[in-house]
């Protein structure tokens, strides 16, 4: 048996995070090549500063400036850095207790090789040139017992942008697979539940009311009935047709569940519940494993279906 179709799925977004007073102070100071901690309820100086105390949950507010130099308290070696990590050559992750702090900060140490680093080693921050108010303003730490670069002037920040880019492989289900392969040939392949005998288009991994995989394939024609619809008058991100246009639930003849698709070729004000429609396919050379092979539906010219014939699908 061939494996179901799969394709890349990338999830990427630049999150915009407001910082509030504590994180805002810390990141504004990093921009100035300063490191600021905060005193906890037990007297410890936390770096990075904690917004709320881990013991009492009280909001913390007593800032304490610490050095940009410190001591490695624990480390591991990364032989092959991953996307987004601070260095693109082998490095150490380390918990670093900065001079003046009582707790440790996680960052990368550019130590060359595992032999170049040890617990207790002295390190200093290597500051980035173009600092924006982010933890990455510290490019990494380096093994050194020299002082770090002196502070510089910079404006406060109140926001930080944190890009997230994750990469997945999305697979179709074994029941969805024949449907997708059928689409590549211009066929509309539904599946029938062996228990309730309802015909699902598109097919599902399991019948949602019986919890069993669907088994029988059913070929459907490319015409059906509009059950309900809305007229889209609003522009939005990623829209491909200028509004107004109609987004409609289409119940294919022989299917037991409607799906959303576009309805064109008719003025929005003339669209009715019960209107009969047929598919308008894209040119064959544009077909792929997607319902977008059907460019849209258009009125077929048949008389409207009676309300009773689709009322149980609303």
């Amino acid at each position: 048996m061939t494996r179901p179709l799969s394709a890349p799925l990338d999830v990427g977004f630049d999150y915009t995070r407001s910082l509030g007073p504590t994180l805002g102070r810390f990141l504004s100071d990093l921009r100035r090549r300063r490191v600021t901690g905060i005193r906890g309820s037990d007297g410890r100086v936390h770096v990075p500063p904690l917004e709320y105390d881990p013991v009492t949950a009280e909001r913390l507010s007593e800032f304490v400036e610490v050095a940009a130099t410190g001591v490695v308290r624990g480390w591991s070696w990364t032989p092959e850095p991953l996307e987004g990590q601070p260095l693109d050559r082998p490095f150490a992750w380390a918990l670093i207790q900065l001079d003046g702090a009582d707790t440790s900060l996680l960052h990368a140490v550019d130590a060359g090789s595992p032999e170049g680093i040890s617990t207790g080693a002295r390190v200093r921050a290597r500051w980035r040139g173009d600092r924006v108010g982010a933890i990455t303003d510290i490019e990494c730490f380096e093994i050194s017992d020299a002082p770090a670069d002196p502070p510089a002037e910079a404006d406060d920040v109140t926001m930080v942008t944190t890009p997230v880019n994750l990469h997945y492989t999305h697979s179709a289900s074994p029941t969805e697979d024949p449907f997708l392969r059928g689409l590549m040939e211009g066929r509309l392949i539904a599946q029938r539940c062996p228990e309730c005998e309802k015909v699902y288009f598109p097919p599902r991994p399991a019948c949602p009311t019986d919890g069993v995989p669907t088994t029988d394939q059913v070929d459907l024609a490319d015409r059906g009935t509009i059950t309900t619809f809305c007229v889209v008058n609003v522009p939005f991100l990623g829209q491909r047709i200028p509004p107004p246009y109609v987004s409609a639930y289409v119940l294919l003849d022989g299917a037991d569940i409607p799906f959303l698709h576009l309805l064109l070729g008719v003025a929005p004000e003339d669209v009715r519940m019960g209107m009969r429609v047929e598919a308008v396919w894209k040119p064959r050379e544009e077909w792929g494993p997607t319902m977008q092979n059907i460019d849209h539906f258009k009125p077929s010219g048949e008389p409207d279906a009676p309300f009773d014939s689709y009322s149980q699908h609303l």
Binding site: T16, T227, C230
Partner: protein, 380 residues
């Protein structure tokens, strides 16, 4: 099952972008108010339940983990609930069950959403391979079902606008509401842009940053208490052959279990206020029917007669509801908290006089997840 009560509620000032706080700060604004309202301190809290809609909204996987210090959860049990749009309600119900079961005496329930960290439309429409992209935008999913309701119930077109005008006017009485529009009218709603016909601009919920918290206890801590008389949760598949999307069975089943548990036989006369999850105006009459306040097809008549206004037979969303503030993950817990505030008599300007029994209701986007509770001023 032993009795449990809401003894304190708190919420943030809701806004499109709360750029003055971090996520932790946002949660604590609600939590600190709830704990002050309840008159409790951190050692009094046995466990914490956090509710939030999809992690992609804030770009943090299981944010309860990084929020544990801010939630006072270190050394305590911490649960994270996620049941889609109904999550705020489920959070309240799970927290209630921790007390009702006898496992804990006092539990803090918190729900939040900081929509300004990203864009909900993006998070909900990451293009999944092989899946037809939704070419209709946010309201495009709901609008066809609203059309179905209007057709089936034979409802006049102005009812949706009446709901929107009422909820926004109520929101103007709520100091925490995102939208405050005291001068809105049915006419101005009807004159607003038609976005997803039949849904107009003024009939849609805003996108908000916000949080809500409640303290649930086995005994009153502050003198005031909203006793939890019943809770219910029901789920059905988002789509299936023959599904009734206008009046889903899961909502009807949840409501009938809820009324039975609360000993309520005639909800319309026995419930004094209802906080119902209405993100688009027409869902008020739809849920009035689904909840059994009216017969099928009759919900709009209650709205049209003005009976869902403050002062009517059944005030619905005296707080302004989701149409006035929508921090998605928190919206359900806000409904639950506002119901508790009504029976505790702490709702201020939007207080329903003499409210003794109130409903809190939440549902998930595809109308497939329902969570509800009934609270009362009398100990059961």
């Amino acid at each position: 099952m032993r009795p449990a009560a809401v003894v304190g509620t708190g919420q943030t000032h809701h806004a499109a972008k709360r750029l003055d706080v971090s996520m932790a700060g946002l949660c604590r604004e609600a939590v600190d108010r709830a704990m002050a309202d309840a008159g409790v301190d951190w050692p009094d809290i046995d466990a914490v339940v956090l509710g939030k809609a999809p992690d992609l909204f804030e770009g943090v996987m299981m944010p309860e983990l990084f929020l544990a210090d801010a939630l006072g959860a270190v050394g305590k049990p911490l649960l994270r609930v996620h049941t889609a749009g109904s999550v705020g309600g489920s959070t309240g119900n799970v927290a209630a069950s921790l007390v009702q079961s006898g496992v804990h005496d006092r539990v803090l329930a918190v729900a939040f959403e900081k929509q300004s960290e990203s864009n909900a439309m993006w998070a909900l429409s990451v293009p999944t391979p092989f899946t037809m992209p939704v070419h209709a935008g946010a309201g495009g999913y709901f609008a066809p079902h609203v059309r179905s309701y209007i057709r089936r119930a034979g409802a006049p077109e102005h009812v949706g606008a009446m709901v929107a005008a009422k909820d926004r006017r109520n929101g103007a009485k709520n100091p925490y509401a995102h939208l405050k529009q005291p001068d809105i009218t049915v006419e101005s709603v009807r004159a607003s842009t038609m976005l997803w016909d039949p849904i107009r601009y003024d009939e849609t919920c805003p996108s908000s940053d916000g949080a809500c918290a409640v303290v649930i206890s086995s005994e009153p801590t502050s003198g005031r208490a909203a006793w939890i008389r019943a809770t219910a949760m029901r789920t059905e598949p988002t789509t299936f052959a023959g599904r009734d999307q206008v009046n889903p069975q899961a909502g009807r089943d949840a409501a009938s279990a809820l009324w039975k548990q609360a000993g309520i036989t005639d909800p319309l006369s026995q419930v004094d206020a209802a906080e119902i999850y209405v993100p688009f105006s027409w869902f008020e009459p739809m849920w009035l029917e689904n909840l059994g306040f009216t017969d099928v097809g009759q919900g709009w008549k209650l709205t049209e007669a003005g009976q869902t206004e403050i002062g009517g037979l059944l005030p619905v969303n005296p707080s302004g509801g989701v149409l006035s503030s929508n921090p998605i993950g928190a919206s359900g817990l806000l409904r639950f908290a506002e119901a508790a505030m009504q029976v505790m008599g702490t709702a201020g300007e939007h207080q329903v006089d003499g409210a003794r029994v109130a409903l809190g209701h939440a549902y998930g986007g595809g109308s497939q997840f329902f969570a509800m509770w009934v609270v009362g001023s009398e100990k059961p």
